[in-house]
């Protein structure tokens, strides 16, 4: 009995000692802070543009898709990134009562490092209330000017002088749509419903002349062009509904069609391009990447993609057909080893491109559930 009591006391003491050692010290009172900068490293910008409230421009790591932060423009937000990747601009709409009420249209300038607004510029309340595309907002003339697509539905382009922080001009572009920024100078080109392209030039005082209209370049009824093309040097390359590539030189006074390439000739399965930002180009390897779908028919030009075609632009040769994940947007990072981003179905996909394997695309990463991403941008 005595032994039992002694053992009990001893074990109880040991247990108390063990428990005391296991209990961590209390948490010290913490201080609320706000992060001062996003995580370092190259970025990918992905916009989820809303028609019913605030839009979302996500900033994720270009290498690993890690979420770094976001900035928040208004409804039907458009987006363009400066070449350095340090400033993202967005033009968006604010209805005073969200579903109704007077509209205000604002250009936001966001600092990327701090994911913060640095400037607001009110512009005419005419911004095209359309799903975001690269050709709806552009920077030109060494990023002195910001161009925004309007539609009332009459089309025009608002020119914002970024140095002055004010609207410089509104240039009517009747019957034409999309802004193709010139490589140099205060100039842009647009695609018109009569099958022509038209170039507009403006001056620092806001004056502008008549557009320089091309000859008829394409047939909007028989073989319409997708409006978001790829810049290849001084040329722009556009895909058509029927699977042709139209090469347009926009460097001169008047846009000129230099070549039409039948990309799908000899390919079985009635393949055709599909999507919106459906064509992108890697400068280092000279390869175009195009979203495609099979069994095409009238009206399927926005269906989910099934393949990504790699097309050697210099050799005019189809290199490889990789499976896609239904994307309707592509973006090529101009990294030495090509890296291709795709967006669709509430996800972003990352593909490694192997130049030694005829530019085959290999899925290496994805970010599922990020939102309905319609357009991406990177300075990479």
């Amino acid at each position: 009995m005595i032994l039992r009591t002694a053992l009990t006391v001893t074990l109880s003491g040991l247990a108390a000692q063990v428990m005391a050692q296991d209990v961590p010290p209390p948490i010290e009172p913490e201080t609320l802070t706000v992060e001062e900068a996003i995580a370092p490293g190259p970025n990918l910008f992905a916009i989820d543009s809303s028609w019913s409230g605030v839009s979302n421009i996500f900033i994720v790591g270009a290498d690993d898709l890690s979420m770094k932060g976001n900035v928040s423009p208004g409804m039907q937000a458009l987006m363009v990134l400066n070449a350095a990747g340090t400033t993202v601009f967005s033009a968006s709409n604010y209805l005073e009562r969200i579903a109704y009420g007077p509209r205000t249209s604002i250009v936001h300038e966001f600092d990327v490092e701090t994911a913060s607004i640095t400037r607001e510029i009110e512009i005419p309340a005419k911004i095209a209330m359309v799903e975001v595309q690269p050709g709806l907002m552009s920077l030109v003339d060494d990023e002195k000017y910001l161009l925004v697509q309007n539609a009332t539905p009459a089309t025009s382009v608002t020119v914002v002088d970024l140095e002055a922080g004010d609207v410089l001009a509104e240039i009517p572009t009747p019957g034409c749509w999309i802004i193709i920024p010139a490589v140099t100078g205060p100039k842009f080109t647009t695609i018109c419903g009569d099958g022509t392209f038209a170039s507009f030039t403006f001056d620092a005082d806001g004056s502008f002349g008549d557009p320089a209209k091309s000859e008829v370049i394409f047939d909007p009824d028989g073989d319409a062009l997708f409006t978001n093309g790829a810049r290849v040097g001084e040329m722009m390359v556009f895909a058509s509904y029927e699977g042709n590539l139209f090469v347009v030189d926009d460097s001169g006074d008047v846009p000129v069609l230099t070549e039409t390439i039948a990309m799908t000739d000899g390919i079985d399965g009635n393949f055709a391009p599909t999507g919106s930002e459906l064509i992108t180009y890697h400068e280092g390897t000279g390869v175009l990447f195009v979203l495609m779908h099979g069994d095409a028919y009238d009206g399927s030009h926005k269906d989910d993609s099934t393949e990504i075609w790699a097309y050697d632009f210099a050799a005019r040769e189809l290199l490889y057909r990789s499976n896609s994940n239904g994307e309707n947007s592509l973006l090529m990072a101009q990294t030495e080893t090509p890296r291709l981003y795709g967006a669709g179905g509430n996800a972003i996909y990352v593909y490694d491109i192997d130049p030694a394997a005829r530019s085959a695309a290999r899925l290496v990463d994805s970010f599922d559930g990020i939102g309905s991403i319609s357009m991406m941008a990177t300075a990479e």
Partner: protein
């Protein structure tokens, strides 16, 4: 009689084909609206029904796929008819868009082509329980603005510019 049956079956095949094609479409420029909760075109189960029971298909394609209905051939949006409106009327308390895009759709019942005005209805929150249709036959980008279905056609209204839903109104026979 055999010819009649062949014709009816042919119509059913076309409708079924349209319905199955529709199932592939989920990424329209406006279809991002549907992720808010609406049912995207083609999501309805394809249930065979007799092709000559027109009452069952009064405003639907084969198997009750309402988006496969012929006049919806270029419709991109939530159906107003499932929000208290109809194919040709905006829901109560909303405002019809002042401008619209136009489709040219083939009616298999009379083998005629019709011009269909797709007006958006405006000024209220979207009803995301309504079916979201996304078809783009003869649709063109903004350089043919009157055929463009990616844009908010409430844009020209004086006050109610918020997108609500879409109707499909026959405005005439295509020539």
């Amino acid at each position: 009689m055999t010819k009649l049956i062949d014709t009816l079956l042919s119509r059913l095949d076309r409708a079924a084909e349209s319905g199955s094609r529709a199932q592939a479409r989920s990424h329209g420029r406006r279809s991002f609206l549907a992720r808010l909760g609406g049912t995207i075109v083609g999501a309805a189960v394809m249930t065979p029904i007799l092709p000559f029971d027109r009452r069952a298909n009064a405003a639907a394609g084969a198997g009750g796929d309402v988006c496969a209905y012929w006049r919806n051939c270029a419709l991109d949006g939530f159906l107003c008819q499932e929000t208290g409106g109809s194919m040709t009327s905006c829901p109560v308390g909303s405002e019809a868009s002042a401008v619209s895009w136009v489709g040219t759709c083939h009616n298999p019942e009379d083998e005629r082509d019709y011009l269909v005005s797709y007006n958006d209805c405006c000024g209220k929150a979207m009803n995301t329980t309504a079916t979201f249709c996304f078809r783009s036959e003869r649709e063109r980008p903004g350089y043919r603005m009157g055929l463009y279905n990616d844009i908010n056609w409430c844009m020209a209204n004086s006050d109610a510019q918020g997108y609500y839903c879409t109707v499909a109104v026959v405005v005439g026979q295509a020539t």
